[in-house]
């Protein structure tokens, strides 16, 4: 456990002692700001029936951040170490492969969570300006944060796998982005596939991250969404572990 915590700390340190972490957070804040500026403009022009939460999570900004920021966060986890040669050094230390994978995943996830923290502050500040407490439902806000975390787990796990598969950070980021986009679009296909088709619709519906996040942003918790995010995270982490272990027999 101690080794795991040390590794997490080391990984977190690499995010916050370099420019990368601050650049990512600043870019994310800027995109969030753009989205909220649009929402403010809309709410100031005419009354809307959607809450601030729903308005934000239905916007392109959220998905843009999720699809682009997670590959940037995760691309260096394994690929950079392999490229610089520190990966073999790490693997010769008395830590298991599982500890290494979990530590890198945890660190990336914690950084991802830090990236979204300002969103809570911005939402609560805007709630003050609307003078309507119902415009930001605290239950819905908690649900939305839970949803963002769960979906983030899945995307960070995808990024871990992509980074473990290659030595190049650029390829890792591209792989991660494409895989994340594919999952997002596959879920979106649920709207195009008619329910009469049966299981294809059911499968796509279960993968529909947009719908899952919409539920979370309204404060609705559905175990189907929770199970999907947790189980696929587990799958990608398992694949990452196998990819890390593959150096022993390749």
């Amino acid at each position: 456990m101690r080794a795991y915590l040390l590794l997490v700390r080391r990984e977190m340190g690499t995010f916050f002692v370099s420019w990368t972490g601050y650049m990512v957070i600043a870019a994310v804040l800027f995109i969030m700001g753009l989205s909220f500026a649009g929402i403010l403009q809309a709410l100031n022009t005419e009354p809307l029936t959607l809450t601030l939460n729903e308005l934000f999570y239905e916007s392109v900004a959220f998905w843009l951040v999720l699809l682009v920021a997670t590959p940037v966060i995760t691309m260096r986890l394994f690929a950079q170490e392999k490229q610089t040669g520190t990966f073999e050094t790490l693997m010769t230390t008395p830590v298991s492969d599982l500890q290494v994978v979990l530590a890198k995943f945890t660190a990336a996830l914690l950084f991802y969570a830090c990236m979204w923290l300002p969103l809570i502050v911005i939402t609560l500040a805007l709630r003050h300006y609307t003078r309507q407490p119902a415009a930001v439902d605290l239950g819905a806000l908690s649900g939305a944060m839970g949803g963002v975390f769960l979906i983030g787990m899945l995307y960070v796990a995808i990024g871990c796998l992509a980074s473990a598969l290659t030595r190049s950070q650029v390829i890792a980021a591209m792989l991660s982005f494409v895989a994340g986009l594919a999952i997002f679009l596959a879920g979106y296909l649920a709207y195009a596939v008619p329910p009469q088709l049966g299981w294809p619709h059911a499968v796509l519906n279960q993968m529909n991250l947009y719908q899952h996040l919409q539920d979370f942003s309204r404060g609705v918790v559905d175990t189907r969404a929770v199970v999907f995010c947790l189980s696929t995270t587990f799958l990608f982490l398992f694949l990452t572990l196998r990819a890390v272990e593959s150096r022993r027999w390749k």
């Binding site: 916050f16 420019w19 972490g21 601050y22 600043a26 870019a27 804040l29 800027f30 700001g33 753009l34 909220f36 500026a37 403010l40 709410l43 100031n44 005419e46 009354p47 809307l48 029936t49 959607l50 809450t51 300002p118 911005i122 300006y129 609307t130 309507q132 119902a134 415009a135 439902d137 605290l138 239950g139 819905a140 908690s142 649900g143 329910p195 009469q196 059911a202 279960q206 719908q211 539920d215 309204r218 404060g219 609705v220 918790v221 559905d222 175990t223 189907r224 199970v227 999907f228 189980s231 696929t232 587990f234 799958l235 398992f238 694949l239 196998r242 272990e245 593959s246 027999w249 390749k250």
Partner: protein, 506 residues
């Protein structure tokens, strides 16, 4: 040859292949496990609304109905995405579908999905409905339609804008969303084996529901009844014939000759048992007593002897026989049609009697359609044309249609529920000639839906108030907020990054 060169590799190809197959099997096993877990999750799930407003919590009644849904219930949402209440409708129905995957939801936007819209129009004959947006519930061919107009309660709200004449501009604002009430009611209707029946009284020159006559026929109205889930039949009340027990709606449309005392007694009995009655009079009975007048008076409705005209609102080609009356009363029948209009032909005056003989607390009589303040009462007709005498004809705002509801009496349960009546001064507005004019068809549909309304079965499902959120920021405040969001917040993070970089450099 050196010794090393002849030694076989310690990690041979077969070993590597073996390890690779092992990893592949392990990965496929985990994938299968993930698929199985998700399969079970889809079949056995738990869903809970944690929001403070509980906006997405369905009523226990709706949940019970959804639990009992048979396979093959389809909901077609034929709705323009940009129109009012679209997101409320789709979100609520998605919540229904999330609760029971047997409910198949099909969303069709006629603008964005013209092919699907065309298919739906052909399959369900939607073109005949003349509706822009609707939600259709289909269970093995049994259909119930919910129209957009019925989905919300509206009121008029003044805006900051002024019209060219300097008057305040009003906007139509949805106050409540009645989707759950209507959708659950429609689901009950389509899955229930019970069939509602409407009887047309015949024998006094009334409109014939089977007649396709272009002027007097009532076939289009009969079609409207079927679309709303009511079977139609005709009925004569002569002799020993009684009003059947399966009569959910009795329609007396445009009688020309008087009803007998025996017939009136049967109708009175039916009404006292909680019957639902639609009476529309016709200009062809002008100058004659139909005996219905006394029965109506007992239910708080006065049927006048004269026609009400509204020359200012007559169509240009008519000789003042017709009138286009604006719908302004916020009654349950007319509220969805506020700001619309009805096209009537020589209507008789039908108004509420202020002090009815019945207990005022149980009998509710509402006038739901009026002429403008420039209405004229006319008593003479020559060659089918009203003779207007400006000197002697009374002027004012006259009532043309009345809705009556007898509230439940504590401790008394009527066989058919609570009595409801709609009495109108004109039957022609639902004839084949005029039913498609203005909002006549919708008005007819709302009248019959209100009359056969069974939402009393759905106690506990209340309309949801529609909350609107807005900001009243000045331009300066907006600029400050934008500067904070786009400049200060990302800038401060970059500044922090720079400080860390500088410190590490030292």
């Amino acid at each position: 040859m050196s010794k090393a060169a002849v030694t076989s590799p310690s990690f041979s190809f077969s070993r590597r292949l073996g390890a690779g197959v092992e990893v592949l099997i392990a990965c496929l096993s985990v994938l299968a496990l993930v698929v199985m877990v998700n399969y079970l999750a889809v079949r056995h799930y738990w869903r809970k609304d944690f929001s403070a407003s509980q906006r997405w919590t369905l009523s226990p009644r709706t949940l019970k109905v959804l639990e009992s849904l048979p396979a093959g219930v389809k909901v077609l949402v034929y709705y323009h995405q940009d129109d009012r209440l679209y997101s409320e409708v789709t979100d609520l129905l998605r919540e229904y579908a999330a609760r029971n995957p047997r409910l198949r939801l099909e969303l069709v936007d006629p603008n964005r999905q013209p092919v699907e819209a065309n298919l739906a129009r052909t399959r369900y004959n939607l073109a005949a409905l003349n509706q822009r947006n609707l939600i259709l519930f289909d269970c093995n061919g049994k259909i119930k339609t919910v129209y957009q107009q019925d989905l919300g309660d509206y009121d008029l709200e003044p805006t900051a804008e002024l019209s060219e004449t300097g008057q305040t501009v009003f906007r139509r604002r949805a106050k409540n969303f009645k989707g759950e009430q209507l959708f659950t009611s429609a689901l009950i209707h389509v899955i229930s084996p019970r069939v509602l029946k409407a009887y047309f009284v015949q024998g006094h020159g009334e409109h014939d529901p089977a007649s396709t006559d272009e002027i007097m026929g009532y076939s289009k109205f009969a079609h409207l009844l079927r679309e709303n889930g009511l079977e139609t039949a005709t009925l004569t009340l002569f002799g020993t014939a009684e009003i059947p027990n399966d009569c959910h709606l009795l329609i007396i449309a445009g009688p020309r000759t008087p009803l007998t005392q025996d017939e009136l007694e049967k109708i009175a009995r039916y009404l006292n048992q909680g019957g639902r009655l639609m009476v529309f009079l016709n200009y062809r009975s002008f100058g004659r007593s139909l005996n219905l007048e006394s029965l109506m008076a007992a239910w708080g409705v006065m049927v006048g002897e004269r026609f009400a005209l509204d020359p200012a609102n007559a169509t240009p080609t008519s000789q003042f026989q017709d009138l286009v009356v604006p719908i302004t009363e916020p009654h349950a029948v007319t509220r969805p049609l506020l700001m619309g209009s009805a096209h009537l032909l020589l209507p008789r005056v039908v108004s509420a009697i202020k002090s009815s003989g019945r207990a005022a607390e149980t009998l509710k009589v509402d006038e739901i359609l009026h002429t403008s303040n420039e209405g004229i009462l006319v008593k003479d007709v020559e060659n089918g044309r009203p003779v207007i005498n400006p000197a002697s004809n009374p002027r004012g705002r006259f009532s043309l249609m009345v809705a009556v509801e007898k509230g439940a009496v504590p401790g008394v349960r009527a066989e058919r529920g609570s009595t409801r009546l709609i009495v109108g001064g004109d039957s022609m507005f639902l004839s084949n000639q005029l039913i498609e004019s203005r909002n006549n068809r919708d008005l007819g549909g709302h009248c019959l839906n209100w009359l056969v309304d069974q939402t009393y079965l759905l106690a506990g499902i209340e309309p949801r108030p529609l909350q609107e959120y807005r900001l009243d920021l000045t331009r300066r405040q907006l600029l400050t907020l934008n500067a904070l969001l786009l400049g200060a917040l990302p800038g401060s993070v970059l500044l922090l990054g720079t400080l860390v970089w500088l410190r590490r450099r030292k």
